[in-house]
Symmetry: C2
Subunit: 589 residues, 2 copies
C-alpha cells in the first residue's frame, strides 16, 4: 500500500526559510492577512483533509472508476462525500476574490495546498482544479453580471467549471476547431459542436456545470484568430437543462476516478466571455494557471511515490550491504543499504525538493505580479512566471513519470501488482505530460515565444536573479561545492542558448529540434539554483536542527554530483542540431 | 489502434547481410539444414501466425484478462485456440533437440521469431517462452528418464513448463527461500511451500503443467548453496492430480492476459533435477535463455509502438512545418513534419535496429558456443553471450519502457485512452524491467561477475572484436562519421571501466553505485558498434536498393549524433562515485 503524510516541514522550510514568502507578500495590498501563522494553519488543515479524507479513497477510486449510464456519470464510492467536505472547507476558493466569497490567499500558498491534494488523490483534485481555472477566466474577462452570477457558486464548489477546447481533429492545433456559435439576437448564442477529452464534463458531485467553450462566430476569420469563448451552463436559473450532454466517457490508462467526457453541444445557449475572436487569449488566462497546477500534479505523484518507496525500502529485507551485514540480527539487510535503491530515492528527493521550491518561487512571482504597485517589479515578476510556466509544467510532469517509474522498480514485482498502489501512480501521472499542452508544446513555448520576447528579456531577467545569488554567496567557501556547479551550469546554459538562437537564424527547425532537451537543461539549471538557495537557508538554521541541515546537504550533493552532470550529454545532443532529425524522407519512416 | 507488420526485411538484413548467420552456422554440426532459405521460410510462416492469429487478440486479451475461479484459470477469449495453432505449428520446439521432437534450429533465428511473437501478443508469447526455459533446464540437467518423459510433451506444447523460484519474502535474494523437499524413500520428494509471481502457473490451454521448483532438502546448508531443483508435474501419468494448486492470481498493471499465480505446493510429489544443493546453477541454465528472451520482449514492444506511432504521425494533421506548409492542400500538415515527432520515431528506430542486431549477434554466439568443435571459439562465444546477456536484457527492456512511453506521447491524449492500444504497450512492457532479475540485478551481474571473470577476459574479448571492426574499416572515409564516434565511445568505455575497477579496490560500493549508468553506457557503445556494422552492410548493397541504404544512413546518423552523446553525461555521473549515494543516514530518508 502506498503511504502519504503531508510534507509540512519541507513546505514550511521553502515558504518561510528559503523565500520568506509571508514577509514579502504581507507588504502587498490584499495580502495583509497572509502571515506565516495563517499559512501554517492552512497547511495543517489541508494536511488533515488530505490524509484523513482524500487519500483513503484514492486506490478504491482507481479500482472502481467512473461509470456512465443514460447520460449520467457516477463517480466512485466516497467521492461525492469527500468532495462535499472539500468544498465546504472553502478549498475551491482559496485564492479567489473575497468579493465573491473567496479567501484571497496567495498563489504561493495555494500551490502547496494543490500539491498535497494531488498526492492524496490526483483524480479527485482535478475536479476543483478545473473549477479554479474557470474562476480565473471569468474573473478576468467576464462581465460584472457574469461574475456576480457564476463566481460565488464556483468559489463555493457548488458548481463545477470546465474547459471545453479539444475536438477530435483539433488538439495541439486549436486553429482547426469547428464548433460554431450563432447569435440568438437576445445577447445569447447557440453553441454547436462536439468536444472531446473534457475533464469533469459531467458528474454527480455538483448541482451544476459551467462550461467555458471555444467556438467560432459566423463572421470568424480562419485559424486561431477566429476563436471566441462562451460560458455555457448545464442548468439555467429556472432549473431547465441546456442543450449540452455527455455522449460517452473515455477508458484510460489511469486517472480512472477523474471522468473524461465527450461533450455534445447541440445549439446550447451560451454567452460570450471577453471579446469576439479573442477566445484563445482568454483561455490562456486560465491555461497558465492550469499549467502550473499540472506541474504540481507531477510533483505530487513523485512525493507520494518517494514516501511509499522509502517505507518499502526500510521494511523489505533482501541481500546484504556490500560493506558487510548492516543488520546482522536479521536474515538480510533492508534494501535501503543498496546503492541502486538509494540512488532512486535520492533522485526523487533531489528533484522533488527543487521542484517544490521552484514552484513556490514562481507562484510568489505570480502574487507579486498581481498585487505589486511597482510597475517594474510587476513586469519582472510576470516575466519570471512566463519563463518558468513551461518549465514547471514539463519538468514537473516529465520527472513525475520518470520518478514514479523508477520508484515502482524499488518494489520489484510488488510494484507491478495493483495491491501496492505504486503502478497507479505511474498510470495516473502519465496524463500530466499530455494535457494542458503536451510537454513538447511547453518546450516550444519556452524556446520560441518565451525566449523570443524582446530579444530575450525574460531570460536576461532570470539570469540577473541567479547571478545576484552567486554574487551574494561569492567567498562562502562552505557553499562552493554547490555554487561552483551552479555557476558552471549557468555558463553552459547561456552558451547553448546563444548557440540555439544563432542557429535558428538560418534554420527554421533549430529551436524545435532543441526544445525538449533544452527545457530539461534549463530545468536542471534552475533546480541547481534552488538547491543553492535551500542549502544556504538550511545552513543558516544548522544550530536549530543539525539533522535537517545535514539531510539537505546530502540530497543537494547528490543533485550536484549525480544529476546535474546530465547537462553535458544534453549540451552535445542540442548542438547536433536539426539535420539528423529532418534528413529522412517521410516515406522512409 | 496499434498496427503491426512483421519487419521481415529488417530481420533478413541482420541475419544475412550484416552477420551472414547461415554461412557461419551451416558449417557447424547439427545446423547443416539452417540455410538462409530455411530461415526465411520460417520467418515468413511466423509472420503469418503473428499478424493473422496472435495480434488480433492482443487488445481484447488485455481488456478481458485472465479470470480465477475454484482453483482454475481461464485465459481470455481466443487464447486457447491461438495457442493450439502456435503449438501445432511446432513453435514451442523450434530450437529443441530433434531427438525429442524439436526442430533443432539455431537460436539466432529463434530470437527473431520470439521478437515477432512478442510484438504480436506479449502475453500469449510468455506461456511458451516459459516452456522453452523448462525444456532447456531439463535437457541440460534431467536424467534420461526425465527427458524421455517430459521433453516430447513440452516440445509439442501439449504441456506447460513453469519456473517456481520467488517466495513472498525472497525475490532478488533467493538465498532466503524456505520451500522444503523431503525424500519419500522411493526416489521422489514431497515438496512444500508457497511460490508467488508464477507466470503460467495454472491455465486452461495445456493438458498438464510441469513445474520446476526451487526448494531445500532437509540437510541443506543455509543460503543459495542449499537450494535444489525439483520437477513437479500437475498431473501424474495415471491422470491423478498432484498436491499443487493455484491459490490466487495477481491483478497487475499490464500483461493481463498472461496469468501470474500464487502456487501452493502442499507435499507435492517431485523429483530432483540435477545435483542436490545445486539447484540455483540449474535454474541459471534456463535463466540465461529467459533473460535474453525478456530483452527481446522489450524490443518487441518498441517495434510495434514504432509502427503504430508512424502510422498515426503520417495520418494525424496538426500545425504546420516550420519551413512552411508541407501539404498546402490540407488544413494542416501531418505531424511527422515536426522535429519532436521525428526525434521520437528516430530514437525508437535507432535503438530497435541496433538492439535487434545485437540480439542476433549474441544468439549466434550462443549457437557457436553450443555447436562449435573449436574449444577456443566455443569459449569466446560463450564469453560473448555471458557479457551481453545482462546488456540485452536490461537495455532491451529499459529502452522498451522509454520508447513506448515516448511514442505514446506522439498520439497525445489519444495515446492515453485504451482504444488506441498504445498505453497497453507501456503497461505490458513495464514488467520486463522487473522479471528474470530486475535490471539492476542485470547491471550488478555485468559490473560484478561478468567484468570480474579472470581479470576482465570477457570485456577484453569483446574489445578485440570491436577493434577488429575498426581496424578493418580504417581508411574508409565514407564510414568515418560512424567509426569516429564508435572509436571515441570505446575509448571512453575503456577509461571509465578502468576507473570503476580501480575505485572498487578501496570502495566496496563503487561497482554497484555505477552499475545502471555503466550498463547504459556499455549498451550505447555496443549499439554504436552494431550501427557501424549495419551501415557497412547497407552501403555494400547500395546499388541494389538506394532507399534502404539511405534510410540506414539517416537512422545511423541520428544515433551517432543525437543518442550516443548521452555517454558524456553518464561518464560524469559514474565518476561521481558512491559517496553521494551512501552518505545519508538511513533515518534521514
Amino acid at each position: 500500500m502506498t503511504v502519504y503524510a503531508a510534507p509540512l516541514r519541507e513546505m514550511r522550510f521553502v515558504l518561510h526559510d528559503v523565500f520568506g514568502v509571508a514577509d514579502k507578500l504581507t507588504a502587498l495590498p490584499g495580502y495583509g492577512d497572509a502571515t506565516a501563522d495563517v499559512m501554517d494553519a492552512v497547511l495543517d488543515e489541508c494536511a488533515k483533509l488530505c490524509e484523513g479524507v482524500l487519500f483513503p479513497i484514492n486506490q478504491t477510486g482507481d479500482a472502481e472508476g467512473c461509470t456512465f449510464k443514460d447520460g449520467k456519470v457516477t463517480t466512485p464510492k466516497g467521492f461525492k462525500e469527500a468532495y462535499k467536505q472539500y468544498a465546504e472547507g472553502g478549498w475551491c476558493g482559496l485564492t479567489a476574490d473575497p468579493e465573491y466569497g473567496g479567501q484571497g490567499l496567495p498563489e504561493a500558498l495555494d500551490c502547496l495546498v494543490a500539491e498535497m491534494i494531488g498526492s492524496a488523490n490526483l483524480s479527485l483534485g482535478l475536479y476543483p482544479g478545473l473549477t479554479q481555472g474557470t474562476i480565473l477566466a471569468l474573473g478576468a474577462l467576464g462581465t460584472p453580471e457574469q461574475k456576480t452570477y457564476y463566481l460565488p457558486k464556483l468559489i463555493s464548489g457548488e458548481w463545477q467549471g470546465t474547459m471545453c477546447l479539444t475536438e477530435s481533429h483539433s488538439g495541439s492545433d486549436l486553429g482547426l476547431l469547428r464548433s460554431k456559435a450563432v447569435p440568438n439576437g437576445d445577447g445569447s448564442y447557440s453553441v454547436t459542436g462536439t468536444k472531446i477529452f473534457i475533464s469533469a464534463g459531467e458528474h454527480d458531485m455538483t448541482a451544476n456545470h459551467v462550461h467555458l467553450v471555444l467556438a467560432r462566430l459566423p463572421d470568424a476569420p480562419e485559424g486561431v484568430r477566429g476563436i471566441s469563448m462562451f460560458v455555457v451552463p448545464k442548468f439555467f436559473d429556472d432549473g431547465k437543462q441546456n442543450a449540452v450532454a455527455c455522449g460517452s466517457i473515455e477508458h484510460k490508462m489511469g486517472m480512472k476516478a477523474s471522468v473524461t467526457c465527450v461533450m455534445n453541444f447541440d445549439g446550447a445557449k451560451g454567452w460570450l466571455v471577453g471579446q469576439p475572436h479573442k477566445g484563445l487569449a482568454g483561455m490562456f488566462v486560465m491555461m497558465n494557471k492550469e499549467r502550473l497546477f499540472v506541474g504540481g500534479q507531477g510533483i505530487s505523484q513523485s512525493e507520494v511515490a518517494y514516501q511509499s518507496a522509502v517505507a518499502y525500502a526500510k521494511d523489505r529485507i533482501q541481500g546484504r550491504a556490500a560493506t558487510g551485514p548492516a543488520h546482522p540480527d536479521k536474515a538480510a539487510d533492508p534494501i535501503i543499504v543498496h546503492p541502486d535503491i538509494r540512488s532512486r530515492l535520492l533522485l526523487a528527493r533531489s528533484i522533488v525538493e527543487a521542484e517544490r521550491a521552484l514552484t513556490v518561487w514562481t507562484h510568489m512571482n505570480a502574487d507579486i505580479s498581481h498585487k505589486s504597485s511597482d510597475a517594474a517589479a510587476c513586469q519582472h515578476a510576470e516575466d519570471m512566471v512566463g519563463l518558468m510556466t513551461p518549465i514547471v509544467k514539463a519538468a514537473g510532469t516529465g520527472f513525475g513519470s520518470e520518478i514514479t517509474n523508477s520508484l515502482l522498480q524499488v518494489l520489484g514485482g510488488h510494484g507491478y501488482i495493483r495491491e501496492h498502489g505504486m503502478e497507479q501512480l505511474v498510470r495516473d501521472v502519465r496524463i500530466t505530460e499530455i494535457y494542458e499542452g503536451t510537454n513538447t508544446i511547453q518546450a516550444l513555448d519556452l524556446v520560441g515565444r518565451k525566449l523570443g520576447i524582446e530579444g530575450g528579456r525574460l531570460f536576461t531577467g532570470w539570469l540577473r536573479e541567479v547571478e545576484a545569488t552567486l554574487k551574494k554567496l561569492d567567498g562562502r567557501n562552505d557553499l562552493a561545492e554547490f555554487t561552483g556547479p551552479l555557476k558552471d551550469a549557468v555558463e553552459k546554459l547561456k552558451s547553448v542558448t546563444t548557440w540555439m538562437v544563432e542557429a535558428s537564424k538560418t534554420d527554421p527547425n533549430a529551436r524545435a529540434a532543441a526544445a525538449n532537451d533544452y527545457l530539461r537543461f534549463f530545468a536542471l539549471t534552475a533546480f541547481a539554483w534552488m538547491w543553492v538557495l535551500m542549502i544556504e537557508a538550511a545552513l543558516a538554521k544548522k544550530n536549530d536542527d543539525a539533522d535537517f541541515a545535514n539531510a539537505k546537504l546530502n540530497v543537494g550533493r547528490y543533485f550536484m554530483q549525480r544529476v546535474l552532470p546530465q547537462i553535458g550529454g544534453l549540451d552535445a545532443v542540442i548542438r547536433a542540431g536539426s539535420k539528423p532529425l529532418m534528413a529522412m524522407a517521410e516515406g522512409a519512416f
